[in-house]
Amino acid sequence: MDQPRIDLDQELVKRTQAGDAAAFDELVIKYTPRLYGLVYNMTSNHEDTNDLLQDIFAKAYKAIRGFRGKSSFYTWIHSISVNMTLNFLKKRGRRYHLSLDDVDASIQNDKEFMEATATSSPVREADLSELQRRLNEAMMKLSEDHRAVVTMFHIQGMPHAEISKILRVSEGTVRSRLFYANRQLQNYLDEFRKNPVS
């Protein structure tokens, strides 16, 4: 986390606490894309993600007067998001519906995307869309807690320390969950590679 981001967030939080609703709008605009990725990769459903994001920001707006700044706003809003999403997933139970969109065809020309898939790997050998679909299925087979860690670490690129703050667990627990989740994903994808039509 860089210092200017924290300072800007603090300023916006102070203005919101003083009653400036426009300042909160700026926070919403700033954090929506990032939180969308977090919630979406945990729920695997766009509609659920949209509803949850709305609820997350509504809750944050109500609670922001009580925000004392012991942690950064970044950590605080991510904690709210992860907790609300985990609660939602526990209520939803195993009744998940895989509506994750396939990888958009247009991004296959994206530079970062091409770099990610250029090297010799099982990714190249398999049909990418199918692999992504399988990966999403594998993600959904993880427990909610493991999925949250995988999403934050691998997809969002957060460091272990930040994840431990958000989840309020030790860094050791974060590493342990990651290790276990990686093993599960590996097993599932290996199975797919050996037997692609299953």
Binding site: R65, I107, V123
Partner: protein
């Protein structure tokens, strides 16, 4: 590389960053947020809105900073106590004065009249109210003012006689 190792898993998972919502979603998200906020506000009963506002206000108060000024709090309490004592005492004294003014009065004697010649020390003194406040008020309203000093000598020196 025949198997998916951690690096491959990580690379594959990073591709999920490219999974994006429909175009225009982020642009409309804020409008949708405002709309939902308004709808929720309209759906709530008034007491609930007030309760939430009060709750939010209480959350906004830093109680610890308030308790860090014990002298100020004590001073305010003392002032309130003094003011309330004064307010409590003022009507009490007025009430006593109006209700039962002890008066020295001569007994009503049908046989004799009170005159200057009769010694005061021989009179029986009573400490009962001559009349109640209401009676007094009625009398004052009905009759013109009368001064007791009329019958009391201003001076014991002999009056001039022509």
């Amino acid at each position: 590389m025949d198997e998916f190792d951690d690096r491959e898993i990580a690379r594959l998972l990073r591709l999920k960053r490219f999974e994006q919502p429909p175009p225009g979603y982020f642009e409309n998200f804020l409008h949708e947020f405002h709309r939902r906020q308004r709808d929720e506000l309209l759906r709530q009963p008034l007491w609930r809105i007030c309760l939430e506002r009060a709750h939010t206000f209480m959350l906004g108060l830093d109680v610890r900073s308030l308790t860090s000024y014990p002298a100020a709090v004590t001073a305010i309490l003392v002032c309130v106590a003094v003011i309330s004592l004064k307010i409590y005492q003022q009507p009490e004294t007025a009430h006593v004065a109006l209700q039962s003014p002890p008066a020295l009065s001569a007994p009503v004697d049908a046989g004799g009249e009170l005159n200057l010649a009769s010694p005061v020390s021989m009179q029986i003194l009573r400490t009962q109210p001559v009349r109640s406040f209401n009676e007094s008020a009625q009398t004052h309203r009905a009759a013109p003012p009368r001064y007791v000093l009329d019958s009391v000598p201003v001076s014991y020196e002999p009056a001039f006689r022509f």
